[in-house]
Symmetry: C2
Amino acid sequence: MPSQEHMKRVLQSYVDGFNAGDAAAVATLFADDAVIEDPVGTPAIKGREAIDEFYANAVSAGSRLTLDAPIRGSHGDRAAMAFTVEVTGLRIRVIDAMTFDGQGRIARMEAFWGPDDIER
Amino acid sequence: MPSQEHMKRVLQSYVDGFNAGDAAAVATLFADDAVIEDPVGTPAIKGREAIDEFYANAVSAGSRLTLDAPIRGSHGDRAAMAFTVEVTGLRIRVIDAMTFDGQGRIARMEAFWGPDDIER
């Protein structure tokens, strides 16, 4: 099971990768067979190719992420963080919950944000 | 499916119930067959009796909850919030992710906090 320190470092790298405009740095945090549900309640994105494309698009949009509070761990293989995304004049309030695999990569990501969590 | 407004109101009621010292007000937000994993990575608590007991203990400890950021919804039946618990001289940083049933009650709660998320 990944350590708390490892999981928090990966979540911080996710934020830092976005802010550096480095889509590959973000996508590489995910397992090849990872599943992404962003936002929760929409069809999942699955697998390396779809994940690489998803983050290429998301990062190239110029999104800036700011943590709202310290990253949370758990007593298991999951961690979560609350952050705000600024992109194209919008602010989106998000909570991401991540589940890790045995190799310390993100196996599942769920992004909590709804229509009401966007400020125009 | 519950509305975004309903889910956010329930999560706010969860916070308010704790701060009012009203365990019953918190427990009644949950379905009779709800499952609670608090913290994530520990055995789940299941069903009305266990849930009532869990919140009777948690609320009687005098926990005070403060939201760290606005409650997040989703595009489905889930919502999440980041908050800080102050209890017996400790501060615990938590993210709760809730899944709702068709009747608008919480069917599943997952509380993200690890050993490193406690400040003494």
